[in-house]
């Protein structure tokens, strides 16, 4: 009989449903097949013209009905699609989830198509004065909803019958992990038996791409898109902007067992530490990331030598991969050379607000399947980063525990520790 309380006397949190969408496809089966065969979802941008853009590739989701309908519509559809898969797998009614919703999604802004359409609605005046004039004279409620931060979660709450005020959050590129962390914490506080945590991001607009590009964050390796994302390689030159989503049904182990649900994994621990060094760069000694990893291990009640695999943040930017290696080697010491550390982003790119949730989903599948997805494009190793990155080809392995890292602009560092089985 598994323990229902953890080492600190809190309810053990199980995962009973997983859903995922990435540029590799819709659903767990399609994604897992592609991920373990080392396939890349990175491709040339077709959603908008790439004239004048330094980066012309991405991992955009181009195969959903909302793919051309703007960030808000696509982010919603991504969230809904992943959550439906997760809730169905958990064996729960789609309309009666009856637990809180935590949604990690990108900050919303009115799309340019809408700004331009509004502007064309009149001939007098200019700039925002005209936009405001048109707005007050016509019904723009659909547009309004796309620019309200709470709208996507509100619609999801309606559809899934989640309980109470849904929380929409952003911790930049750590958002997906934070959504899971909030669900874990709510269950541990005894506020609910289950929570729906979703990370979704369909915000790869031209403006978003240009903004990241102006910060020199993106790979400009346009010639062979599938080769552009190369975490831990010597010639890595930035991340690849991407879209996707994942949803987890989190549930107290007690509730899961009581209703006979299949336990897909355990959310053992969460750790967090913010960085006060710089808006985009990490403290040179890596102490905040180190602190986050250690906090997650402590929260999980595991020692360093009890982690079997690290699902890296591994963005393929020069800065991240160097800092991530520094923090991992500080925490794990010499043993880090022997722990497999792979980056899903080598295949799916950086899905921003969704990344932490997608990578948690893949971490759970890694343990269940006993197969570690590779870091592809590892042709030119960075000699200063001595890691077993599971180069280029998947590896069979017994993986009982995973550390998944998520680091974001604004000094956000969040780590999750997951386990295959309850204790």
């Amino acid at each position: 009989m598994a323990n229902l309380k953890d080492h600190l006397g809190r309810p053990v949190v199980a995962v009973t449903g997983i859903g995922v969408v990435t540029s590799l496809g819709v659903g767990k089966a399609e994604n897992w097949a592609a991920l373990t065969s080392g396939k890349s979802g990175i491709h040339p941008i077709t959603r908008f013209p790439v004239a004048l853009l330094n980066t012309q590739i991405s991992g955009m989701i181009d195969f959903l009905p909302s793919s051309t309908k703007g960030s808000s519509a696509l982010t919603y559809e991504l969230a809904e699609t992943a959550a439906k898969e997760a809730v169905a797998e958990a064996g729960l009614d789609t309309g009666d989830f009856d637990g809180p919703l935590f949604l990690a999604s990108p900050p919303v802004e009115l799309d340019w198509a809408d700004r331009l359409a509004l502007y064309a609605g009149d001939k007098e005046g200019s700039g925002y004065e005209r936009l405001l004039k048109v707005a007050r004279s016509q019904n723009s409620l659909d547009m309004f909803e796309t620019a309200q931060f709470g709208s996507i979660a509100d619609r999801l709450a309606d559809l899934f019958g989640t309980r109470g005020l849904p929380i929409t959050l952003s911790t930049a590129c750590a958002s997906g992990a934070t959504a899971i962390q909030l669900g874990v914490e709510a269950i541990r506080r005894g506020e609910c038996d289950r929570a729906l945590s979703i990370g979704a991001d369909g915000s790869a607009t031209a403006e978003a791409l240009i903004r990241f590009s102006l910060l020199s964050a993106l790979s400009t390796n346009n010639a062979v898109p599938a080769k552009a994302s190369k975490p831990f390689s010597k010639d890595r030159d930035g991340f690849v902007l991407a879209e996707g989503s994942a949803a987890l049904v989190l549930e107290s182990l007690e509730s899961a067992l009581a209703r006979g649900a299949e336990v897909l994994g355990i959310l053992r621990g969460c750790g967090e530490k913010s960085d006060d060094f710089h808006r985009t760069r990490s403290k040179p000694d890596g102490s905040p990331a180190i602190g986050a990893v250690k906090a997650a291990l402590a929260d999980a009640g595991l020692r360093e030598d009890e982690i079997d695999y690290v699902n890296a943040h591994g963005t393929s930017t020069p800065e991240n991969d160097k800092m991530e290696h520094l923090s991992l080697s500080t925490v794990f010491g010499e043993r880090i050379r022997k722990i497999p550390v792979s980056s899903n982003k080598s295949m799916i790119g950086h899905t921003l607000s969704a990344a932490g949730a997608i990578e948690a989903a893949f971490s759970l599948m890694t343990m269940r399947e006993g197969v570690i997805p590779p870091t592809i494009n590892y042709d030119n190793p960075d000699p200063s980063i001595e890691l077993d990155v599971v180069p280029n080809v998947k590896r069979k392995a017994e993986v009982r525990t995973v550390l998944s890292n998520s680091f974001g602009f604004g000094g956000q560092n969040t780590c999750l520790v997951m386990a295959r089985e309850p204790v």
Partner: protein, 395 residues
């Protein structure tokens, strides 16, 4: 499960009325105080503008100030005031272990760049290429960071060294409600000992007004107080720039370090009424019933926005309880979106701490002459989500 008392041990406030708890108390308890408004800049909309602020008082480095647009600067400034007030600012042991939940929207876009794209769009059919042309050459690279929702929290970490956990909740008034509800729950359960929580809103940017006006929520024409806007031209919301941050703390943690306590934070409740089907009034009444109201006369600080439907529903729900005397804070400050609920909670804390109520903010608000032991704070979203909290004297 432990159940610790949550107290409010620090307050930072900025609005058109001024800055700081004391200044707000003095202004808002002076009978017949006139709101500060600007009816010219964004005609036909009235806004409550920011007062003049010496940013250097809370953001020492000019380099840090330059990295932020007004919304982030305002939030970072107000957060610094709250930390100062709680005796935490500059105490590295306390800031390094402090958790943070920030309620945020987005930051200010570059108005000139946007206007340039819009103007050029009239002579172009290849508008997507036009966007690439303009945005790649005219956007300031660092502006992105000044707009990102979670970078208000990021700047607070950098400037004030608050480096425990950091979460940013997005979503108008509901984000402010959820931020306080989550922070309080963390402290009650022992997950946190002290939390910085709050938000800021800078309305003096046309894109921020557009966010409301796409839903035709803004009041037009001459300024009116909150409860008197029904039937007026426009949607009823008058916005204001401002910020509110609170330091919430476990009682024993605050007492152990000899910190002044303003108030105890009682139940924080939130909801999501499916408003399309009506029923908002009943939803608000249900929230009131969950706040464990004490008997007798009760002061309420209402965050009502003025939005016609939501404000009418809140008014009816509050008036259904004859013991409640409500004050609509937006009559004096304007609607501050994500900062609205933290601001209402702060004003409630000031009242129980001072042992006195606020006079009516407008004609028609019921008199309240007693010494409030508890004050209700509400925020009913102009469009969605609602919440409230009961704030009580510290004991």
């Amino acid at each position: 499960m432990v159940n610790r008392d949550v107290v409010i041990s620090g307050i930072g406030l900025v609005s058109s009325l001024g800055e700081g708890g004391d200044a707000h108390w003095d202004k808002m308890t002076a009978p017949g105080v006139a709101p500060v408004t600007d009816a010219e800049r964004f005609h036909p909309y009235v806004v409550h503008p920011l007062p003049e602020i010496d940013w250097g008082l809370q953001i020492a480095k000019r380099g840090d100030q330059r990295q932020m647009e007004t919304w982030q600067r305002l939030g970072t400034y107000t957060a610094g005031m709250a930390l100062d007030d709680a005796g935490i600012k500059g105490n590295d042991d306390l800031t390094a272990t402090m958790d943070m939940v920030v309620a945020a929207g987005g930051g200010e876009r570059d108005e000139a760049v946007d206007a340039g794209v819009l103007a050029a769009s009239e002579n172009r059919t290849d508008r997507d290429v036009l966007l690439n042309e303009k945005l790649t050459t005219e956007l300031r690279p660092t502006l992105f960071l000044a707009q990102l929702s979670n970078l208000l929290a990021g700047n607070i970490s950098i400037v004030h060294k608050v480096t425990g956990s950091s979460r940013t909740f997005m979503g108008e008034e509901g984000a402010g409600v959820a931020a306080i509800e989550t922070a309080a729950a963390r402290i009650r359960s022992g997950q946190s000992t002290h939390v910085l929580v709050g938000g800021s809103f800078q309305t003096e940017h046309p894109d921020m007004l557009l966010g409301y006006e796409l839903g035709r929520y803004l009041h037009r024409g001459p300024w009116k107080p909150v409860w008197q806007r029904q039937g007026s031209e426009g949607g009823g919301v008058v916005t204001g720039s401002g910020g509110a941050f609170l330091v919430l703390e476990a009682r024993e943690h605050a007492e152990a370090r000899g910190q002044n306590i303003y108030a105890q934070l009682g139940p924080v409740v939130s909801g999501r009424t499916r408003r399309r089907n009506g029923g908002l009034e009943a939803g608000i009444a249900e929230l009131i019933s969950r706040t464990e109201l004490p008997g007798g006369e009760l002061l309420a600080i209402s965050g009502a926005s003025g939005a016609h439907a939501a404000t009418a529903a809140e008014k009816a729900a509050l008036e259904a309880n004859p013991a409640i005397a409500a004050r609509a804070l937006s009559s004096l400050t304007g609607h501050m979106k994500e900062a609205q609920f933290p601001f209402a909670v702060a004003l409630a804390a000031l009242a129980v701490s001072r042992g006195a109520g606020y006079p009516a903010f407008e004609a028609g608000e019921k008199a309240f002459a007693g010494k409030p032991a508890s004050v209700l704070a509400t925020a009913v979203g102009y469009h969605q989500f609602e919440g409230m909290a009961l704030v009580s004297a510290p004991r």
